[in-house]
Structures are given as structure tokens and as C-alpha cells.
Symmetry: C2
Subunit: 328 residues, 2 copies
């Protein structure tokens, strides 16, 4: 069975670990979000790709969900001693090595897809991990700028665009997000293999990743959304919203920016029946099922808390079962 999964960071990575456990023989291609990539200290950092790679390769910091197990922070502390930041982004020593290798290969002319493949040679994640694009796409968040010109002037002043990581990690999404802009997405092309994998898939899954800044960004790469809609195979997603709040992270803040309520059914309708064939909500959201089904998306309520690999595996099995139900 060929499965294509669109993945952001922690939620996507943990779901993938469950999926591998549920169907060990499946041929899994992961299309990873690169919109939250950031250049720090002259190095190209790909947080979502690395979270997937480390999680599936056995190198992840389990409790934290991102970064490396047994990590140390000597480089970061020394950079701070030189007055070089940002200090709010937690790059550990082990993690630095990944970014150094990646940056060297990028500098040597390799596309990100080839670099990711080379890094995965070490980690052996057991899936084919593709960046959504080899082009530079950078998610920016439009926030109020207290130091800017007054709001509502002719230029739409009083607001400024900041890098997603600054919004998410430094500001902990504490400012109102007025818009989410995947800068460069319109001009980007899917990375080699992305459209081919979608066309060859037996099933396509949306893990409980952030629907705006993770899966939404992947879908913003021209050609990917269309390829998924046209693939003619079941497309099944899992709600990242449980009981009206994100399972983790601050997805509600960025959902508000795109005018979507933070509910399990609203997210399904945001994807829409043109894209989505099936949707899993948590058992606490059973009441949301009729609204989703009414919109033409088959919906089931099952436990959606990824407390461990087995729980994630059961979720993956439910998603695949729903896919078969859709197909039949």
C-alpha cells in the first residue's frame, strides 16, 4: 500500500510513527512543510523536516517533541557570550551539526530534496521524506506593530510581517495574527517526486498537524492541492482540534487569522469536500460528526490523543479503515 502523508512537525511526526507501527510494510512518502524553515547564524534550519527525521530515526527528544535527545547547548551559550542571537530559538549542539551539513550541501548547489535524502541516509526514518518544495517559502505572520504608523492609513500601516518562528517561538503566538502569508509559495514548484508520489498513492492522509501553517502551507505550493484532489484515491484527515482547543501548539491563533473557528468540524469544512473524503474527530467531538458528514465528508469519532506510539497506531489504523470505507 502506497501512502502519502502531508506533515508538519511534532503532530505529523508522532502520527507517522504510529502509522509505521500500524502498517509496517506500507510504502510511505511524507511531504514535509518547509514554510517554517529559518536561517539562523548563517545556517539553514528546517524544523519540521528535522522533527520528522529525528522522530522516525530514533533521535528525537521524546518529552519535548522536537530537537535531539541528550542535547547540549554549548554553541548557543557561546554565541550568546558573543552577543549573537537570537537566544529564543533553541538550537542544540547536536542539532547544529544537522544544519551545518545541510547548509554545506545547499551551498554546494544541492537542492533541499537531495540534502534531505542525504541526511535521511543516516537516520533511516523508514519513510521517503520529501520537502514540499526545493524553493524558498517562508511563512510570515502579520501582526500589530505598536511602533509603526497608525492603523488604517492608506498603506495599511500599523502592522508588520514577522517570521513564523518569531511569532510562534519568541512571541508564543501572544499577538493577534491578522494574516498568515507563505511568502514565495506562489512562485514555488513541488519538489521532485511530490506530484509523482501523490499520483501513485493508494491513500492520502492529513495527520493532526496545524491546518494553516503546516498542511495549509504545503497545499499553498501550486500543483499540490490540485494533485491531491485529482488523485482519485481516499483523502482522510485527523482533527488537530479536540474539544475546541488544539491538542498541542497554538493552532487556534492561526485558524483565527484565516477566519476559521477552532472546532473539529470547522477545520474539516476549511479543507472542504473538494479535497477531503474522510475526517476523524475525537470522541469528545462526536457532536461535530453530522455537520462534517452534511458537507459531504465521511466522519467518525475515535480517540485522537497520541499519548504513545500505540495510541498513534490505533489512530492511523482508524484513518486507513475510514479510507477503505470511502473507497468501497
Amino acid at each position: 500500500m502506497r501512502i502519502v502523508v502531508l506533515a508538519g512537525g511534532i503532530g505529523g511526526a508522532r502520527f507517522l510513527r504510529g502509522l509505521k507501527s500500524a502498517v509496517p510494510d506500507a510504502d510511505i512518502t511524507v511531504i514535509g512543510n518547509t514554510g517554517d524553515d529559518i536561517h539562523l547564524f548563517g545556517l539553514k534550519v528546517c524544523p519540521d523536516l528535522d522533527t520528522v527525521m529525528y522522530t522516525l530515526g530514533g533521535g528525537i527528544h521524546e518529552e519535548q517533541g522536537w530537537g535531539r535527545a541528550g542535547e547540549t547547548f554549548a554553541v548557543k551559550e557561546e554565541l550568546a557570550a558573543y552577543g549573537v542571537g537570537p537566544e529564543w530559538f533553541g538550537l542544540g549542539d547536536r542539532d547544529f551539526a544537522t544544519h551545518i551539513v545541510r547548509t554545506q550541501m545547499i551551498s554546494a548547489g544541492y537542492p533541499l530534496s537531495a540534502v534531505t535524502e542525504a541526511l535521511c541516509d543516516r537516520w533511516q526514518p523508514g519513510v521517503r521524506l520529501l520537502p514540499m518544495t526545493d524553493d524558498r517559502v517562508e511563512t510570515h505572520v502579520l501582526v500589530d506593530d505598536p511602533d509603526g504608523p497608525p492603523k488604517g492609513d492608506a498603506e495599511g500601516g500599523g502592522r508588520k510581517a514577522i517570521h513564523f518562528q518569531e511569532y510562534w517561538v519568541r512571541l508564543r503566538a501572544s499577538l493577534t495574527a491578522h494574516a498568515i502569508v507563505p511568502v514565495g509559495a506562489e512562485q514555488s514548484k513541488p519538489a521532485p517526486g511530490v506530484l509523482e508520489a501523490i499520483a501513485a498513492a493508494d491513500v492520502i492522509l492529513f495527520p493532526p498537524s496545524n491546518p494553516v501553517v503546516s498542511i495549509g502551507t504545503i497545499l499553498a505550493v501550486p500543483g499540490i492541492r490540485e494533485a491531491i484532489a485529482d488523485a482519485g484515491v481516499p483523502v482522510v484527515g485527523l482533527s488537530p482540534i479536540v474539544g475546541g482547543a488544539p491538542v498541542r501548539g497554538m493552532a487556534d491563533k492561526v485558524l483565527a487569522a484565516v477566519g476559521v473557528e477552532a472546532t473539529a468540524d470547522a477545520v474539516a469544512l476549511h479543507y472542504g469536500s473538494g479535497l477531503l473524503d474522510g475526517w476523524l474527530v475525537d470522541t469528545v467531538d462526536t457532536a461535530a460528526v453530522p455537520a462534517v458528514e452534511e458537507a459531504g465528508i465521511r466522519c467518525r469519532a475515535v480517540p485522537l490523543m497520541m499519548t504513545d506510539v500505540d495510541a498513534a497506531a490505533r489512530m492511523a489504523a482508524e484513518a486507513l479503515a475510514l479510507a477503505e470505507e470511502v473507497r468501497a
Copy 2:
């Protein structure tokens, strides 16, 4: 008193610490060798400048003489796990931060002299540390190439040029060095402040640094040798050779490449009376004094083992005393 010191790595740095202790109020400018700079992992590494900076700034690994105290090697170990080397060059995590900051500034367009000043803002070495040049000079060593074409063919084959660090650190100078070539030196210019510092100096010192690949490389930057010869102030050196062998390192190997015997007097004559006014040899080399004096260089035999800061300070005081003797 304005003192200019030409310095390589460990020997130069330890001498400078002694000099600062001997004359705490002196205005010291260090012209540092950059010929053994190397690009590793996409980062610009300046081993000699850093050894001076760390030693005078209190961050040096004392026993080792280079690198940082309390160093860890997580980045290097991770790079090796990715199969990325070289493994023979011991870059520690703390040290990496220095190279990351330097490389970022260089990439942003700052010359090495400005970068070095910025790094020294943190370390406060108590001297003005200048690279010999802002241009790229890279010392290569010509060695036999067992895999190359036969020796003595029309192209002069059978030999190859390797980076000084590969010769010194990886091969531990185990191959015969046929020539030492400071690639790029001919086209280089002294860094801003170098010629001005020499012209304004009251005394110029050559610490017991390597006369070929440290001080010799600095002198290979067009204009520096001439400025020293023309400064009209005492120029005093200290022999790095004691009892017919280098005090540390493998200076004898590179002296052979330039046809100079590894003796205290031969090194003095290699610099020559056109450059050098005074020369200190160790007390075990007292017999070498007459030959040096005969060549027109005032020479004294004093203890030259830098066993601790006090010993280095006494050596510095002897060098300054000899300078005054020359001046009188």
C-alpha cells in the same frame, strides 16, 4: 612603550601573556599569522588568531595550548555520524561558536580585521590583535605524492601541495616537506593598521613562534618585512629552537624545507641582520652566540623555556632589555 609582536599560535600566545605580565602598561599590537586559516564545514577557522585571543582572554585550554577550556565535542561527533569530516581537526562546540560568528560577519562583508576586533570585544585580550592581512593567504606544503605521476617528469610530478593543517595536524609532519608556499601572499596587502603600528613602534619582537609557517608567512605579506626593516627601532627575536630541536611543534620539518638547519643560530641567520637587531638563545645554546653576533645580530643566552607565565615574563623582559641595549 609601543610594542609590535609578530605571532603564530601557541608559542606566540604564551610569550604575549608573559609580555603583558612583564610590562602591563605597554601598548601592544599583535600581528597574527593567518596563513594556517582553513575553511571547515563552511566555516572560516583562524587557529592562530584564536589561540592568541583565547590565551590572552582567559579562555584557552591550558594544557593543550589551543582550543577552549572545558570544551565538548557534540557537533564534531554528530558531523562524523553524518559521515562529514575531516575528523582529524579538533573543532569543539565552544570553538564552533567563534567560527560561526566570524563566518557570519565575513559573509556580511566585514573584513577579517573588523571581525577579529569584534570577537576581541568579548575576550578583551589586552592587546590590539590584527590579522597580518584581510586577504586570503593559505599556506600549502609540497609533499611527495605516492599516487601521483613519477617524480622528475616534465611537469615536476610526483608531488602535491596540501593545506598546512593537513600536513601539520593530520600527517603530524610525517612526510618530507619539499617547499612551503604561502598561496596568495604575493597578492595580499597588510591589514589596516599593520604598517601604521610597525611605523609607530618603539620595539618589535619575534616570539619563539615558527620562523617559517608563522613569522615567515607574516613576513611574506608584501610591505611588512620592509616596514620592519625600515622602522628604525630595535627588532629582537627569541629562538624557537633549543638544543637543536623545536621547543614544541615540528618546526625542524619546515625549516628543512627552506634549507635552514634546526639550530638557534641558523634561525637567526635565516632572518638576517637586515631584519633582526637582537636574538635570544637558550642557555643550552650558549655556544651559538658568537656565530649570531658575527653576523651582526646582538645575541644573549637566557632561559627560554616558557614553563609558566612568570618564565615567559622573564623572557619578555630579557627581550626588551636586549632591545634597549641595541638602541643605546
